[in-house]
Amino acid sequence: MTPHMLTRSLDRSATIFLAVVAACGILIPLSNLLLPAGSFLQVPTYLVALWGKYVCYAILALAIDLIWGYCGILSLGHGAFFALGGYAMGMYLMRQIGTRGVYGNPILPDFMVFLNYSKLPWYWYGFDMFWFAALMVLVVPGLLAFCFGWLAFRSRVTGVYLSIITQAMTYALLLAFFRNDFGFGGNNGLTDFKDILGFNVQAEGTRAALFALSCLALILGFLICRAIVSSKLGKVLIAVRDAESRTRFLGYRVESYKLFVFTVSACMAGVAGALYVPQVGIINPSEFAPGNSIEAVIWVAVGGRGTLVGAALGAVVVNYAKTFFTSGVLAPYWLFMLGALFILVTLLLPKGIVGTFNAWWDSSKEKRNAASASAAAEDGVTQPKMAE
């Protein structure tokens, strides 16, 4: 009875969520492009880019929630997959600059000319083609996650150990990408983008289109996650989360399930990064910083671990708060607030906003049901009395 009710409530919130995202994805770009500038209802371009960023974060949060909320894998290195996706897109955008760079080299990006590269490193081949870059956005994070997960899950590295080595992974990548001779622009990263698929990345129309695409990606990502968690596979994942050893003893290959979901999640994070880069206009190694990955985890915790809607909501809420507080006089206190958020959410709101709301909704519904049931039971008890 209860699980059925749960799925129904999830269905309802999922429908609302999808409707809101779709509405934003259509209305915000339209209002930005069609309404005259300065009009009351017109969304300014900078807000489109800002919200586009939030939507990308929401996709990342979905990816983290898929593994943490439904499979109990706390990755403190998901920022690495996000950044790798971003770098793949950034490499495509760099190759599109062509002769319009400062040095005007048709093949080599500016930083390579500056660092005396004589030819393009082999791993930059193919990134002048969009389809190849788009493929790499999925393949590079996915492959890293697959290798990493294959090693980790097979030898049953779980819990905090896994968290710590994922953190070490993103830290190692951070150090590597900071190096100039690594061929990704060192600490300046990749920036000064001009075109994406022939459209100017700075143009309003492109930004609006990117925003709509991000919303579409969020919807798709949400549907994929929903499909995974509500399938039989998803049930196994939840079983792994709650009792890994027991699931293994029941005959499931726990590591295969974990590996699958970890890889899917990394690919989603990569897509989020790829959409993030053209909207923000830069990708640099600081995206690999371990702090970023942990921050992304707290979005999920705030919104509600194990509720996909909550993860996306948490990402938007926390980042909106971050923008709001770091731009005003309260800027020096933002880290206090963020820190307090980590502590208070884990102590007082372990289910997050959506999880707590769902629990409250269910319990009040149950109470109502119980009340009506007991009323009915009382009727049942009283009836024989009456018959007596």
């Binding site: 990493f148 980790a152 819990g159 710590i164 070490a168 190692a172 590597a176 020096p332 206090f336």
Partner: protein, 535 residues
């Protein structure tokens, strides 16, 4: 005019000598020598340097050093030479009498590269006689480096008088270096020189031997064998040096990780704010030193001794507070603990940033922690050595505490089986609080030591947190010996990889190796056996 004057002076000196006064010869060759500076001719200047340097006159050093700095002024007309002091006052170089002003026609005595070498050698020779041991040693070393033939006499003279052992050795080396390059030295002398340099056996001796040019066949042969022996000993020494750097890095890692080994190992609590406890310890040191600087400057050398217990108490108290207010509600939820303590670390960092500012704070080294000494071919700084000693002491105390005190016994009991320990009447929540306080307090002590070698800034802790976790995970949870072995292994591996791969790539390689290592041994090097770890 000067000749006339000099003749009169000479007569005066003779009359003094007649009265049997053993005065240094300050007339005659010295004055003639000084006058040669005024000829503005390089070979005359060289001769003058030789005469002045070997005169034994007390003006010799001021004159030669003025020559080196371009403060020796010569008047070509009057053939008079003046030394302009760094304070702007001038003296007559021949007599030492102060003069009101240097005539306009005087110009600085010019030098070329060859002369500059003889000037250096002359200064080396002059300071070889200094009463200060440090100056003499330095002079001997500078002669060794310049190996000018002109300094040979001075070196021989100094060698005869020298009593200090290390200066004597340096003089011997200098003599060998000179002889090796002296064209008219005998073959026997040269062979001896090669033997001396072989004993010295460092990079500089190697450079001298490889660059000595044409020599008799026997000398070349001896030099070749000396070179190969020096090279192999240098290879050994560079290994020793890497090992020392590794030990030093390992001690830093160990210091940062011990506290973590206690909280993580004993309690299973991931404390991401551990690095901030280290930072608090470092800032405690800063505050202690500030108070000492303003109130009791005489106590500066004891500042660290005062800071250690204070840092332990401050960080320990904050640790107990954290355990009581946050962590105890999260037992059994390690991932949530991780997030909450991460949030805590942000708060602590920002709090310190607000109180002390975002920039680095200066923490000084007490006198007994600064400086270095040579051990064979490697230099060992005192602060690194003390940190190593201190780390091992902290480790030993902690180990003894866990083994022999009541609290240690209770802690081990709780680690092994919490419910059984509780059934036996151990107040597990009190043990938890104290254990967490202990771990944090030790992190605070680590902060005192790290303040001596690292920048004291709000980010101090962050730079250690990942490394500390790596050490604990690598060494094995719940085992202090594992942490010890883990820290030193990682430290030494890092320092041996660094020369091959570079600092950053070496670090990346270590991280990748640890990730791979964990695949093989998910519970670390020294895993606890039994049920305790299978939670």
């Amino acid at each position: 005019m000067p000749a006339h004057l000099s003749a009169r002076l000479r007569a005066f000196a003779l009359s003094l000598l007649l009265i049997a006064f053993a005065l240094p010869a300050f007339a005659g060759p010295f004055e003639d020598g000084v006058a040669k500076f005024a000829n503005d001719d390089f070979s005359d200047t060289e001769e003058a340097i030789g005469v002045v340097a070997s005169s034994g006159n007390k003006l010799a050093f001021p004159i030669i050093s003025a020559l080196q700095d371009g403060r020796l002024m010569a008047d070509p007309d009057s053939k008079k030479v003046y030394v302009t002091g760094t304070d702007g006052k001038s003296i007559d170089a021949a007599t030492g009498e102060p003069v009101a002003s240097v005539p306009d026609s005087a110009s600085a005595v010019r030098l070329n590269n060859r002369l500059r070498r003889s000037v250096d050698a002359a200064i080396g020779g002059l300071t070889l006689q200094s009463p200060d041991i440090g100056t003499r040693l330095q002079a001997a070393q500078s002669v060794f480096k310049s190996h000018e033939e002109t300094a040979l006499e001075a070196v021989d003279g100094a060698l005869a008088k020298e009593t200090n052992k290390s200066v004597k050795a340096a003089l011997g080396d200098a003599r060998a270096a000179i002889l090796l390059f002296k064209s008219d030295a005998t073959e026997v002398e040269k062979l001896e020189a090669v033997a001396t340099l072989k004993v010295r056996g460092d990079q500089e001796a190697l450079a001298l031997l490889t660059g000595m040019g044409d020599q008799p066949a026997s000398v070349t042969k001896a030099a070749a064998s000396a070179i190969s022996s020096i090279q192999s000993s240098l290879a050994v020494w560079s290994g020793v040096q890497n090992a020392w750097y590794g030990l030093s890095l390992g001690s830093v890692l160990l210091l940062a990780a011990i506290g973590l080994a206690i909280t993580f190992g004993v309690m299973g609590v991931i404390n991401m704010a551990h690095g901030e406890m280290v930072m608090i310890g470092a800032y405690t040191t800063f505050v202690v030193q500030e108070v000492i600087r303003t109130r009791y400057p005489g106590l500066f050398d004891y500042s660290l001794l005062i800071a250690v217990p204070l840092a332990f108490l401050v960080a320990g108290a904050i640790g107990v507070l954290i355990e009581r207010s946050i962590i105890r509600f999260l037992y059994g939820r390690p991932l949530e603990t991780l997030l909450a303590t991460w949030g805590l670390s942000l708060v602590l960092q920002q709090a310190v940033r607000t109180m002390f500012g975002p920039t680095n704070r200066e923490v000084g080294n007490p006198s007994w922690m600064s400086g270095a000494f040579e051990l064979g071919q490697i230099t060992i700084t005192y602060n690194r050595l003390w940190i190593l000693v201190f780390t091992l002491a902290v480790f030993a105390i902690l180990l003894a505490m866990l083994r022999y005190t009541a609290l240690g016994l209770e802690m081990r009991a709780v680690t092994q089986n919490r419910r059984m320990a509780a059934s036996m009447g151990i107040a597990t929540s009190r043990v938890d609080a104290l254990t967490f306080g202990l771990g944090s307090g030790i992190a605070g002590i680590a902060g005192v030591a790290l303040s001596q070698i690292d920048n004291v800034s709000p980010n101090l802790g962050q730079s250690y947190i990942i490394d500390s976790f790596m050490v604990v995970v690598f060494g094995g949870v719940g085992n202090l010996w594992g942490t010890l072995v883990g820290a030193f292994t990682l430290g030494i591996a890092n320092k041996f990889l660094e020369p091959v791969a570079g600092a950053v790539l070496g670090k990346i390689a270590i991280l990748v190796l640890i990730i791979l290592f964990i695949q093989k041994r998910p519970r670390g090097l020294f895993a606890l056996k039994g049920r305790a770890v299978e939670a």
